[in-house]
Amino acid sequence: MSDTKIEGQPGYAPGTHVSGRDIRDKKIPYTWWEVEAQYAYSLGPANARFLKELKEGKIIGRTCKKCDRVLVPPRMFCEWCYSPTNEWVYLKDTGTVETFSISYLDPDANRIEEPILVGVVSIDGASPKHGFMHYFGEMKPEELHIGMRVKAVWKPEEERTGSVRDIKYFKPLKDGGDE
């Protein structure tokens, strides 16, 4: 507690600091509780088709004729014009790195040795800046850059489950152009 009155506001700082170590070592009393919860998320028609096509090794989007827009990931309505989207359209499995990170953190903020290369790929055939988050592979971290041309590396057909992980990662597209 540092409640010594000082000049100006806030004039004191109420509260009692305790260290994380003292909590872990049970030097001060705490009540612990663990949550156990499981969820089954509905896919909805747009995600269901998207994942079904990924299982077939294809990336599919939806068009919005009003906005002259190709949406990926696909949605059944367009959040720009607030109208239903119109048609399914197959896209290429190539694209451009819009941004990326080289992560040394796992989901619980634990440190990991081998960094995860992750970023956003805008997909060829979709509207500009339209894509999704995924991993990168078959490249050194220092090779990864914004604007890099990349291509999906798919899991073998028998291992695909209808998941974004049916794409293993995106690798460099060597000639840089469209296939």
């Binding site: 100006g8 004039g11 994380g20 953190l105 796992d106 988050m133």
Partner: protein, 387 residues
């Protein structure tokens, strides 16, 4: 609309773990605000609670749990919540209680106990990601910031050294703040650049810490304010705006939704040229680059210009446009909603000339505070002016 005055603020110590419960922290912050305003709990007509995800404290419907700590038992009470935007949105909600004439005096209390969540508050963020498109990739929230920072840096060709300067400034500014968690008067740009890489381009010292803490603010009508002070501070404008969660379908280099919120607030405040009319700002700085990104979103400089102003010292406490004189989230700490203490209470204390060691020289008249949150989509803005 009625004119709304600010007459008191309060905040607790900010630390990774505090021994007090959320209710007790709410009580401590509220008491300080009541003391400063010179009023009693019985003078408060209505209370707004701001608190971010229930998953941090681990108490579902935590607004109801925290109620007793705010003194709002048997009063009109509501919790508002829009993630990181809450610290400025909660006082906006307090403002409309008074501006509408529904309340004469309203108290806003913000609370967060991130330290309750194990193994790390990051764990609670796992379920912010889209369960179908994103979560199979086992993301960490820092990825979002890293990807946005990279896009911003690359688009404007900004060096990491210039971004690191923000951590140096804010952690040094925080030295004068009694609640500060990570003040550091000796920190250098090299310290930031050499700190552990979390998710490139984000290093450890680019990130504000998770914290426990609470803050409080008392708002009242102009008539009421005359009973308490001859030198009031007024809320002149408020704005809020949100973009889609489909963040992989837009360019992250500029926060349009922050600019939209700022324009809404400036219009209400009658501010036509924010660069000339605003004396200082408290943009949301959970990460170093976010301060710069938000200065641009708040239309305080050109796109890509914020790092240049920072390098030239313009944003120091004694510069032409002081930014985060409180020490910000980087220096004082980041108990999400409770950062109202830096983003709004600080505006009040600076404008009332009560900021002590942190006081900006030159008698500032207008300050803007801003918060940001969700999946890089929420902007909340408030303008305070000395009456």
């Amino acid at each position: 609309m009625n004119k709304v005055a600010v007459i008191g603020g309060g905040m607790t110590l900010f630390r990774r773990h505090l021994n007090e419960t959320g209710k007790e922290l709410s009580f401590l912050a509220s008491k300080m605000a009541l003391e400063e305003a010179g009023i009693q709990n019985s003078d408060i007509d209505m209370v707004v609670m701001g608190s971010a995800p229930c998953a941090f404290d681990g108490i579902h419907m935590k607004g109801e749990n925290l109620l007793d700590g705010t003194g709002a038992k048997n009063k009109p009470y509501v919790r508002v919540f829009n993630g990181g935007g809450t610290g400025v949105f909660a006082p906006i909600a307090g403002w409309w209680h008074v501006a509408s004439g529904v309340a004469d005096v309203a108290m806003v209390v913000c609370e967060e106990k991130m330290g309750s969540c194990y193994p790390h508050p990051q764990t609670a963020f796992q379920t912010i990601w889209d369960p179908i498109l994103d979560r199979p990739l086992t993301p960490n929230l820092v990825w979002l910031f890293a990807m946005e920072m990279n896009r911003y840096m690359t688009r404007h060709n900004i060096k990491k050294e210039d971004i690191a300067q923000v951590a140096v400034k804010n952690k040094r500014n925080a030295v004068g703040h009694p609640c500060a968690q990570l003040p550091d008067e000796n920190i250098t740009v090299e310290d930031v650049l050499n700190s552990e890489i979390m998710a490139w381009p984000v290093n450890l010292l680019d990130i504000s810490p998770p914290s426990d803490g609470a803050s409080a603010l008392i708002l009242c009508s102009e008539e009421k304010a005359k009973e308490f002070t001859d030198d009031p501070v007024f809320v002149d404008g408020v704005g809020w705006n949100i973009d889609s969660t489909m963040w992989t379908n837009r360019d992250l280099y500029f926060p349009d939704y922050v600019a939209n919120a700022a324009k809404m607030a400036y219009k209400m405040a009658g501010i036509k040229d924010p660069r000339k009319e605003i004396d200082f700002a408290e943009p949301y700085d959970p990460f170093t680059y976010k301060e710069l990104h938000h200065m641009e979103g708040l239309l305080l400089c050109d796109k890509g210009e914020a790092p240049v102003l920072t390098r030239e010292g313009v944003t120091e406490r004694d510069g032409d446009l002081p930014i985060c004189p409180s020490g910000g989230l980087l220096g004082v700490g980041n108990p999400i909603a409770a950062t109202m203490g830096q983003k709004v209470c600080e505006l009040y204390w600076q404008l009332a000339g009560k900021a002590g060691k942190r006081q900006i020289p030159g008698d500032p008249q207008v300050g803007v505070g801003q918060a940001w949150g969700d999946i890089m989509q929420m902007g909340t803005v408030i303008v305070l002016r000395r009456g």
